[in-house]
Structures are given as C-alpha cells and as structure tokens.
C-alpha cells in the first residue's frame, strides 16, 4: 500500500497547495514534497525485490486490484517497483523537492498554482515509474503533459506560448503513435493474454510468438512485431528526445522556468528511456537486436549532434538543454548494446544525468536570478561575485564531463564497458569510439562556457549590485552535488539493484531464441 499512499498523499498535497494562499504556497509545497521523499527513502531501505518486474521477478510493494474491463481484456490497478524503477522513483522525489526549493526565488506570481502543478506532476511521474498495467501506466504517462504545459505556458519566457503548445502537441502525437503500435502488438497475441498487464504481456511475448493469423494474415507476425517496435520506438524517442525528433526540447527548455526545466530534463526525459527499456528492449528483444545498427546510429547521432549544437549556443540554458540530448544518446547506446553493463549503465545514466542536468539547470537559474541574463557573451567573471555558485557550476560541469568519483563517470564508464564489447551490436567498437568522442565535445563547450562566464575580470552591465545568491538557492545545489558524489563513489547503492533487475533480460533472450528454434 505504500505506493498508493504516496500517490494519494502527493495528489492531496497538490490540491492543498493549489488552494493555499500564495505567501505560504512554496513552503507548504516543500513540506508536502517531503512526504514522497521520505516515503521513497523508506522504500529504498525496505526494498526486497529481486529480478525484473516484467520477467517474473519478485516485486517490492506490489499491489494488484481489478479495475475495469475492455472486453475481453481486463485492466488492473497494478503497481510495484523493481531495481530499475526504484532508482527513478527516488530521482523523482529528490528532484521535485529541490526544484520546489529552487523555485522560491524566481517564481513570484501565482505561486500556489505553480507549486500545485509541480506536485501534481510528481504524482503522475511516480505513477509512470510504478505502474505495471499498460492502461494505468498510460493514464499517468499522459497526465504528465498537463502540468508541464501550464508550467511552461504560464511561467515561461517570452516565447512560452509557442514552446508550450509545441511540447504539448509533439509529445501527444508521439503517445498516440506508441499507443496504436503497442495495442496492435497486444491484440496480435490473441488469446495468450487477457489483460493489459505488462508483466503478463512481456512473458507471453517471451515464450510464444505473435499469432500468424492475427489481422487476417494481412500483416505477418514478424512484420507486426517490427511495426509495433518502430511505432513504440518513435513514440518514446520523441520523449527522450533522440535526433531527429528532438526539436521540441530546446524550445521547451529555454522558455520553461528553471524549476520546470529541472524536472523536464531530470525526470521527464527519463520517461522516454525508461519506456524504451521496459517496452522495446524487454518485450521485443529479438527485434531490438535486428535493428541494433539503426538504433545505435540514432544514439550516436544524438550524442554528436546534441554536443555540436551545444557547442554553437550562446545561451547557457540552451547549452545544457542540447547537452541533454547528447547525454540521452548514451542511454540509448547502452540499451542497444544489450549487455548487463550496457543496460545497467543506461539505467544508471538515467539517474545520474537526472541529478547532474538538474544541478546544471539550477546553477544557471541561480546565476540568472542575480544577473538576469544567460548569454555567455554578456557576462564574465561571475565567480568574482558569486564564488560559491560558480564553484558548484564547475563541479557540476565536471560531473557532466565524467570526472571520476562523480556519478557521471560511473554511468558513462558502465555504458562504454557494456557497449564496447557488445556481441549483439555489429561494429560496437566503432559506435562506442565515436560516442566517446562526444565527451571531448562536451568538455569543449562546458570549459569554454565556464571560462567566458565565470572567470576573468568581472564584467556585466547592470544598474544594481550583483550579490551572492541567497541560501535557499544554494542549499539545494549542494544537496544534489552531494548525491552526485555519493553515487560516484558508491555506485553500488543503485547499481546493485539495477544489475539484479537487468540480468533476467538476457535469460529470456536465450529462452526465446532457444524456444523458437
């Protein structure tokens, strides 16, 4: 019941905050967000799940109640966590809390609505990572769009209306494509499944093939699986976002207020890679291996294209936004490598990138709060006036570049170890080497941006004195930085359970291949 309790309390919290007066809304939202944060911490301490949630593993905190019917399929309220979803649940609760605190300074109008929407989004995000029934999962998946639309549209920058509607329509179209692909796959299984339960569907797909006469023989089983895979991949790739369907992201990020950017980059993008792992790579591993090369090309293109675009930006926030595209490319590369380290590293990278990109957006936001500019050319020597913030900026940037003892290093190391020797991916060494080159570009633009903005003589034309950032802005930065270092020093804190949940993927692959032969 812990998952339902947390979802309910977070939702109630969002309503209470929504109705609260603006003066207290921020503080109240912080208190309300401590509930799921503490709850997820408790879940971590009590976690006893083993194996993969979809492949017959033992789930932690599982609940299943019959909810509705779509003749002849039943829909169940089915939630639970395994080693893949729990780290993402913790990422969500941590980032929501720090995002709320980081909003105290910049958000100065309609606060109660803002914080209410943030908590509403947290509810939906927690639902996405814990739901194990397709329909329930899809409800939460789509519910995330609503608060994000408002967060960008109401509190965003000058072009916020355009950015909000672009985000909205783009990701909604993606969801529709994915929905049609997935239900076509489920219906193709015929009588083998009688519900939209994700574990049941995944296990049915692992042991038996799609019925040859589904869809009256017009679409053969192999074609159906291929089409479903492509439809789902396209749908999730928009969310990730992977090149070439990434164009909504820079607009959304640049216009979104900083706390929304933190959640957008930190958690919303992970919905895409999480879904890729859960759906495409867990349910249709053989198709994923057939398509390994094109997927790896998408991954490497995202890495390089995102990095090169970041190199060309002048806006600090745009730099971080494009570098997110680059980082998510590593996740896809790890997934397509189809090794324990590749997939585990990809999952670890989701968490690590969530923390690091959240930190970077917050640092940029803190600087903006004081300087009211984000343009690299407008300022220099910010470290002179804001030494602590600048220090965190440097630390976060090195985390991004993969400095050892920070989580980014561990994540990228796992991904590269996994992908370099990947048997399932032809020319894996080439793909890995090219992707690793992306790190050089990352180092390039981050160092360049830091050198120009943070260091050198102080220079910025303002009609007021630039001072240090207030404590409430800086403390959340340190909280995130601490987590990044902890995960860098002791990746086993998460990687142990991740590996445990990723390993069954390879057993069933063998099972399916053996069974099909």
């Amino acid at each position: 019941m812990i998952i339902e309790t947390l979802l309910a309390l977070t939702l109630i919290g969002s309503f209470v905050v929504f109705l609260a007066p603006d003066e207290y809304a921020g503080r109240l939202a912080f208190l309300a967000s401590l509930v799921p944060l503490a709850g997820s911490g408790w879940m971590y301490s009590q976690f006893d799940g083993t194996g993969n949630a979809l492949l017959g593993g033992s789930l932690a905190f599982e609940e299943e109640v019959a909810w509705a019917v779509l003749e002849p399929y039943s829909i169940h309220w089915h939630v639970g966590v395994d080693g893949i979803s729990l780290p993402l649940v913790i990422l969500t609760t941590v980032l929501t809390t720090v995002a709320i605190v980081s909003a105290w300074t910049p958000i100065d109008e309609r606060q109660s609505q803002f914080y209410g929407l943030v908590l509403f989004m947290e509810t939906a995000l927690l639902g996405v990572f814990t739901a194990l029934d397709f329909i329930v999962w899809f409800v939460f998946w789509e519910a995330v769009l609503v608060p994000m639309y408002f967060l960008i549209g109401v509190w965003g920058g000058p072009r916020r209306k355009y950015a909000a509607i672009k985000f909205f329509v783009y990701t909604n179209v993606a969801s529709l494509v994915m929905f049609i692909g997935f239900v076509a796959l489920v219906f193709g299984l015929g009588d083998a499944v009688t519900s939209f339960d994700l574990p049941a569907i995944a296990q049915a797909l692992a042991v038996q093939d799609v019925e040859p006469d589904a869809y009256a023989g017009v679409v053969g089983p192999e074609t159906l699986k291929l089409l479903a895979f492509v439809a789902m991949f396209a749908g999730f790739a928009v969310k990730v976002p992977a090149v070439p369907v990434h164009t909504w992201l820079p607009d959304a990020h640049v216009e979104a207020p900083t706390p929304a950017s933190v959640l957008l980059a930190g958690v919303l993008l992970k919905m895409g890679t999480y879904a890729l792992l859960r759906f495409n790579f867990t349910m249709l591993p053989d198709v994923a291996q057939d398509l390994a090369v094109p997927i790896a090309v998408v991954a490497v293109l995202s890495v390089l294209y995102g990095a090169v675009l970041a190199l060309a930006q002048q806006d600090l926030k745009r730099i971080v936004a494009y570098s997110s595209i680059s980082s998510m490319g590593y996740v896809i590369l790890g997934l397509v490598a189809f090794t324990v380290y590749g997939m585990g590293g990809a999952t670890f990278q989701m968490v690590s990138h969530g923390l690091i990109s959240g930190l970077m957006f917050m640092v940029v936001g803190v600087i903006y709060n004081e300087t009211h500019t984000r343009m690299v050319g407008d300022m220099s020597g910010v470290a002179d006036r804001m030494p602590v913030t600048a220090g965190v900026f440097v630390a976060g940037a090195f985390g991004y570049m993969g400095l050892p003892l920070m989580s980014g290093f561990a994540a990228e190391f796992f991904v590269f170890v996994g992908s370099f020797g990947a048997a399932a991916l032809p020319a894996s060494k080439v793909f890995t080497a090219v992707a690793m080159f992306g790190i050089v570009v990352v180092a390039g633009y981050l160092l360049f941006a830091m050198q120009r903005t943070l260091f050198g003589p102080f220079e910025l034309e303002t009609d007021y004195e630039i001072g240090r950032a207030p404590m409430q802005d800086v403390l959340p930065l340190f909280a995130l930085l601490a987590l990044i270092v902890i995960l860098g020093v002791a990746p086993e804190a998460f990687f142990g359970m991740i590996r445990d949940s990723v390993e069954p993927l390879f057993d069933t692959t063998a099972l399916a291949l053996g069974g099909g032969a």
Partner: protein
C-alpha cells in the same frame, strides 16, 4: 415487495413525460407570481427521479437477460434492455444539468415554463428513441425529440442568430425526416415489416432482386440518423444551430440529442440489418458507409474546429468531430469480430461525452450570462476572475482532447484500441491524427483562460449559482468517470451485448 407492472420498465420516459406535463400545469397555476423556482424544482425533481430510476433499474437487473429480463412493451414496439436504460440515464442526467443551468440563463426571459416543458418533452422523445424497437416507433420518437428542439433553438426570438438557427435546423430536420421515412417505407416494401427483428428475419429469408431497393432504404434511414447525430454529410445545420441557440440548448442538443441519435444508429443497424445477414453476404455494405462517415466526419469536424475564432462555434465543430470518433465503433464492426468492444467503447464515449461536452457548453452559457464575448480573445484572463469555473472548463476541454484528467481519455483510447483490434488500424490512425489536432484547438481556450492576460478590467458582477452548480457537477462527473471507469465499463459492455447477437 410489490410487483411493479411491466410498463414500469419504461420509467425513465414516463417520468420525463409526466414532468413535462406537470411543468405546464405549474405554469398555469403560478405565471402571475413569477414561479421560476417552482419550475426548476419540479423539473429538477423529475429529471433526478428519472436518473435515479434508471440507475436503480440498471443495478437491480432490469433489462438484463440474466436478471429480470428484457421487457418488450406495446406488442414489441418498445424494448427496455440495458442499452435503453444506459441511454435513458445519460439523457436524463444531461437534461438535469441543462435545466439547472437554464435557471440563471433564462432570468428575465418570457415563456420560461414552455422552455422547461419543451426540454423535458424533447428528453422524453430521446429516452424513447433508446427504446424504439420498430421503424415506426423510431420515426415517432425521433419526431418527439426533434419538434421541441426546433422551438428551443429559436427560443431567443428577438435574437437574429437564434431565429436563423432555428429555421435552418427546422428545414434541414424536416428534409432529413422525410428522407428517413421514405427509407423506412422502402425497407417495409422489401421486408414487409417494421419490427427491427422481423426486418432482419425477412432479409435473412432472402430479398431476391430487391437488394437495390433495400440498400437505398438502409442508406436513407442512415441519412436520417446522420442528421440527428450531426455527422457528415448531414451536419451543416449543427454549427449554426449550436452557435445561435441559447447555450444550454446547444449543450442539450449536442450531448443528449446526439447520444439518442446514436442509440438509433446502433440498435437499428445491428438488430434490423445484422452484419451476418446484410453486410457479409454482400447485400448492403453499411459498414463501408459508416467508415466513410467516420473518417470524413472526424476529419471535417476537427479541421473546421481548428480554424474557428469563436469558442461556441469551435465547440460545435468539435461536437461533429466527436460524432466521427463514435462512428469508429460502428465502422470497425466485422462479422465474428470482437464487436462488443467496439459498440461498448462507442457507448462509453457517448456517456462521458455527455458530461464533458455539456459542461463545456454550460461554461459558454456562463460567459454569455456575463456577456464576456464570443471569441477566444474574449476569454483572456478568465481564470483569474472565475477560477473555479475555469478549472472545470479546463477539465472539460482536456478530457475532450483525450488527456487523462477525465473519463474522455479512456473512452477515446478504447475506441482506438477497438479499431486496432478489429484490424482497422488505419481508422485508429485517422482518429489519432484528429485527436492530436484537437489538442491544439482545445488548448487555445485553455491558453486564453490561464496564460493570456485580460485586456480590459471588466468585473464579474454576479455569480449565477445554478450555472455554477451545473458546471461543477459536470466537472466532478467527468473527473470521477476516470477512476470509475471500471463501474461504467461493465455497464457499457453489458449494454453493448444487448444489441449484439
């Protein structure tokens, strides 16, 4: 326990009809005293009683073949099964909300009693449409629902738009009724019966060389229904009528009347012209006709809605688009397919649509009451002045667009899933494209209310309690139908099973 007589199964139309007559009686007694409260009281009690009776029947097994059984009344002319109760509850609920909102909307107008009576009598006709079991009662109940509607659309008789809308609605209505009845006569000529089940039996026995006549008859009957459901190509009265009519009447016609029209479409097509005997042997392919209607209706409705500048007209076109979605459930029917999922999804979508669309039009009545203006820009900044109503309107619009803030999310996806399941993935794809487009224009209203700043400083003077109450109830129902989908889906699929062999 007292054994109720059989005709009590018609409780919903009987109560609604009695309420309509009682309203005229109340008017006779108290017109001198300005009896708005009595009118609302009587009609409110009547419609709520109809809802309650319908829910009671549904839960106690009336119409359930495994419970108290299906009731056939007046020599089988009327039937009470789970589907007629399902639509009866929907029509009565929408009627209640519409009348509740009309209380404030009509303040200061003449002839209020006639308004209430006409609405309840039209609702009686709609409830009977859901029970019609022969082509004769189909035509009669359709007319009983239509005639009061014409007068209601033209109710604001000093308003040019309202009168023009009424005339247009009436002329097209008269034409399409003529088409419908001519179609009925052709079917009668071929089959020698008006009873839906006898028609099916006669066709099964062979129609010889009269296939062409039968096909023409079926298509003409379908044409008459398309008018009632505001589907292409009999839709062009709808934008005018919805826009010109008093907004509560727009809500009533676009929700209850449309649902009742679909009750006829579904029952007549599946019972009188079953796929197994009509479509499968290649006599008359009305499924193909439904596919064309579905694709054209949702595409035209959504694309036209996207180009509107007035909110009410946008909702009118979106209402046409939703008729297209519902038609997906009919267009993907196949012999031996999983038709229960399709018809069930159509019914469920109509049910949720009844609340979310009524709510959206009632919000428009609220803005008309405040004289806010009709365009999207006029709605700018409404959220800061009427937050509760704006939250409700946001729920309606997002639910109409298929986002999971209300039940419309699941029912729309159930329709798409049903189409994919039947192998008509392209129908689902067309629906998906339209659904994505609809998000664009629905969110324009949301953007106006929440994101844009108000231009002038006009103040909202009064808070009309009736309209507010109706909007809030509709919003709560829309939201509640998401978690309560489990309960609703069970009823909806039972209702669908009632008309399927």
């Amino acid at each position: 326990m007292v054994q109720l007589p059989d005709y009590a199964a018609l409780g919903i139309p009987l109560i609604l009809g009695a309420t309509g007559l009682a309203l005229l009686f109340v008017d006779m007694l108290g017109s001198r005293f300005g009896n708005r409260k009595q009118l609302l009281g009587v009609s409110g009690v009547g419609t709520l009683a109809a809802v309650a009776v319908g829910v009671w029947f549904l839960t106690s097994g009336v119409g359930d073949p495994d419970g108290k059984g299906v009731f056939r009344l007046l020599e089988d002319q009327l039937i009470v099964d789970q589907m007629s109760l399902f639509f009866g509850v929907l029509v009565a609920s929408v009627t209640f909300l519409v009348l509740l909102a009309s209380y404030d909307y009509l303040a200061g107008h003449n002839n209020q009693a006639e308004f209430y009576a006409l609405v309840t009598l039209a609702a009686t006709g709609m409830a009977l449409m859901a029970s019609a079991n022969s082509l004769a009662t189909v035509a009669v109940s359709l007319e009983l629902a239509s005639l009061p509607s014409y007068a209601l659309v033209a109710f604001l008789k000093r308003n040019r738009g309202s009168v023009e809308a009424g005339l247009k609605y009436f002329l097209i209505g008269a034409l399409s009724t003529a088409i419908l009845i001519y179609g009925v006569s052709l079917v009668y000529a071929v089959t020698g019966s008006l009873m839906l089940s006898d028609v099916a039996a006669a066709i099964d026995g062979g129609v010889g060389d009269q296939v062409g006549l039968l096909g023409l008859g079926i298509l003409m009957i379908l044409g008459g229904f398309l008018y009632k459901t505001a589907s292409v190509p009999f839709h062009f009265w709808a934008p005018e009528a919805y826009e010109g009519a008093p907004a509560p009447i727009s809500a009533f016609i676009s929700s209850a009347s449309k649902a009742a029209g679909f009750a006829l479409v579904i029952r007549v097509l599946t019972v009188a012209f079953p796929i197994e005997t009509v479509v499968e042997p290649g006599l008359v392919d009305w499924v193909l006709a439904a596919q064309i209607v579905a694709v054209v209706t949702m595409t035209l409705g959504n694309f036209a809605a996207a180009t509107q500048t007035k909110v009410k007209r946008m909702l009118a076109y979106s209402s046409i688009g939703h008729a297209g979605y519902v038609f997906i459930g009919i267009a993907a029917l196949t012999a031996g397919g999983n038709n229960e999922l399709l018809i069930g999804a159509s019914l469920l979508h109509l049910f949720v649509y009844g609340f979310m669309n009524t709510g959206a039009f009632l919000f428009v009545s609220l803005t008309e009451y405040w004289d806010v203006g009709r365009t999207f820009e006029d709605f700018n900044g409404l959220a800061s002045r009427a937050p509760v109503a704006s939250v409700a309107m946001t729920v309606f619009l997002f639910s109409l667009a298929g986002l999971p803030v209300g039940g419309g999310f699941l029912t729309k996806y159930a329709l798409f899933a049903g189409a994919v399941n039947a192998g008509f993935w392209w129908l689902a794809a067309v629906g998906a494209i339209n659904s994505a487009l609809s998000l664009f224009y629905y969110s324009r209203v949301v953007k106006a209310m929440w994101i844009e700043e108000a231009e002038d400083g006009f103040e909202i003077a009064t808070q009309p309690v009736g309209i507010y109450a109706a909007i809030v109830v509709a919003a709560i129902a829309t939201v509640a139908l998401l978690p309560a989908f489990g309960v609703l889906s069970g009823i909806g699929f039972d209702a669908a099973a009632a008309v399927l062999p």
